[in-house]
Symmetry: C2
Subunit: 395 residues, 2 copies
């Protein structure tokens, strides 16, 4: 019976990927006149802003290259990735080789290279595209960008860093999390043991420092100095979706090393975050929470975001597939039901990204400055893939 | 009959100021151990964060000094202002005399001086306190800070400015708006015609550039270069509450010069913004809107904020008191009804600051990093004052 269920799920997620999410992006995102992608799209695919953000442009390249490498060698996917690669190669970097935060439609830089996550996503995009196309120049851009990140990592924001670290030195989960993810992708084009060391170090930092077993959460910020974390907003900030996403990165890395202690710990953390983050009144997972239940500084704290839910689907199903823990599968189905009831737009295609606490569409965009073609297609691909392998596991 | 009505309103607003808002702040905000104020307070007055933001600390000093100067010379108000002044004088500025963005509880700087609005509020605070106390040293700090602002005004963010202005040069309404407000306050301690010129220039810029008569809104951003504003988020961004607040600053300045053309234009703009910004479904004024009705980039766009509503109360009543326009008084009463139904917390005192679109409390804090003791007491004072004068106008 479970085999049938996984078969059904596989079909559902693969269908959403191949017949909904990808076609919407292929239809509305390409900017054939200027290169790159329109990344801020309204419910019907019409363009909301023509600006191009290096974060998200690179994420689109990565998705199409990854699908080409892992799912099917469809020429239109490689061609779509190339549309971004050519634009990014030409306009994306400043004179140091660091990635601008934003360009205008024609590729003129409008926001400087202050955000190192643009560089991380560029490494992912150029490494994955290099594997797909065999373009050695792109592999070199990935490696060069990765080197620059390592040089900048102690002060990623450089001159733009406003924090006086002598008096307030916090570390955010994002850095080890993406470092872990990117190291495992770049190791696919460059066989060097250094990536393995980075992965080990990131997993250790996340699982011993950010994971707070006493309070049963993953913290977004930890103190490098002796700041009292409980008295300030940042110290109590919990982002359940982000922590849950980190946990499946950790599961993947730990699986490579056959480290089952870490896998079980990551599964436990996913359950803790879901227990804490699930909205018992209206369903769905809160965007942000305060560890002590105090008012959060962000007004959108109670919203239900698509990326949060699809990351939780990946983490629960991956955890279940590794450990067979039935509680994780129960969570998967609970989140699955909420997600499919609320996010897909059955009229215009693609999924809504932003719902209010009650699960009503708060912002009808299908993509914007921060969210475009990334979390959803990655999740649809990984979940259909997991469901396929689960059919033969006999759970 | 109207006389009775204005008498009732006067009593209601004065009572909320003197017997609700001020006592809540006096009870929970003073940090007697370290100086300055706890400015992030939960619904019951308990402290949510001990950090101190120069923006808001200075605004509290200004309010208590202003009430002492204009309403009643109560020693506890001056003493409260002094608690902030001493802390700010000692810790608030960096080596250039620019105001830090944030300090920790003990006064150690944690965020550098990147935000010139902290400096503007410091000018207001130190100038108003100097008038209240006769402290010449404070007047000098106000003047010195104002000089630094004029030096920094072409690039207020300095090294922290991430925008490449050769390719994207926008100007925000905030600058001329606060410059106008602060020039009129500082002219109270320094009799110089330069302030009058600044006021004239700011009113002109707001009423000819930011006020878009064709689209019947006040724009938050205008292009200094030839950027196509309609294709980007920032270009279409409308913040009705902010534009409405700017309009009563303009009315005050225009009244000084007996410039009735500008007064009528400002009243018209208030009505346009209310027409555009009023939520026809749930009532209340939206926080942010897109000029073309496209999805806004900020997720909190549909929320109902206390400061927006009290600024709209000031602007409509001030406009009515100047022109007698009955439509403005209708708007005042409509907003009054919404505001008093939704924002006051009749159990714990003070008003909620953040409601969701339906008017339910989304964040139960009474003050935070961005909003504390400023918009509400200023509005309660100004509205009770306007109602007093309206009793003798015979409208």
């Amino acid at each position: 019976m479970n085999k049938d269920k996984f078969q059904e799920y596989e079909k559902l997620y693969a269908d959403a990927l191949l017949n909904d999410s990808i076609p919407f992006c292929l239809k509305y995102a390409p900017d054939r006149a200027c290169g790159g992608y329109f990344q801020c799209l309204d419910f019907d695919g019409s363009v909301v802003s023509t600006d191009k953000f290096m974060w998200s442009q690179n994420r689109v390249v990565w998705i199409f290259s990854m699908l080409y490498n892992n799912l099917e060698r469809r020429p239109e996917w490689l061609e779509m990735a190339e549309l971004g690669i050519n634009f990014l190669k030409k306009y994306g970097r400043d004179e140091n080789g660091d990635w601008y935060f934003a360009l205008d439609r024609k590729g003129r830089p409008i926001v400087k290279a202050y955000n190192i996550f643009a560089d991380f996503f560029a490494v992912m995009a150029f490494a994955e595209y290099a594997r797909a196309s065999g373009d050695r120049g792109c592999a070199e851009i990935a490696l060069k960008t990765y080197e620059r990140i390592q040089l900048r990592k102690d002060n990623p924001k450089g001159q733009f860093n406003k924090v006086i670290i002598e008096n307030r030195n916090l570390k955010n989960l994002s850095f080890p999390m993406i470092n872990l993810n990117v190291a495992s992708i770049i190791s696919g084009i460059n066989n060097d043991t250094v990536y393995d060391e980075i992965i080990t170090e990131c997993v250790k930092e996340i699982m011993t420092k950010f994971l707070d077993e006493k309070h049963r959460v993953i913290r977004e910020n930890i103190a490098v100095d002796d700041t009292t974390m409980d008295d300030i907003y940042e110290g109590r900030h919990v982002n359940p979706g982000h922590g849950i996403e980190a946990m499946w990165f950790v599961m993947q890395a730990a699986k490579q090393k056959d480290d089952w202690t870490t896998i079980y710990k990551a599964c436990q953390a996913v359950k803790w975050l879901l227990e804490f983050g699930w909205d018992k009144e209206y369903g769905g997972i809160f965007y942000f929470l305060d560890l002590r239940g105090k008012p959060h500084i962000e007004l959108c704290w109670d919203m239900k975001l698509e990326w949060v839910h699809v990351e939780a689907l990946i983490a629960t199903l991956m955890g279940f597939s590794l450990t067979g823990d039935p509680e994780l599968f129960e969570w998967f189905e609970k989140i699955h039901n909420y997600t499919w009831q609320h996010f897909p737009d059955r009229e215009y295609g693609e999924w809504y990204k932003y719902l209010n606490r009650r699960g009503e569409v708060n912002n009808r965009c299908k993509s914007n400055k921060w969210q475009n073609f990334f979390h959803l297609p990655r999740a649809l691909y990984l979940i259909s893939h997991l469901c396929k392998s689960l059919q033969n596991k006999g759970f």
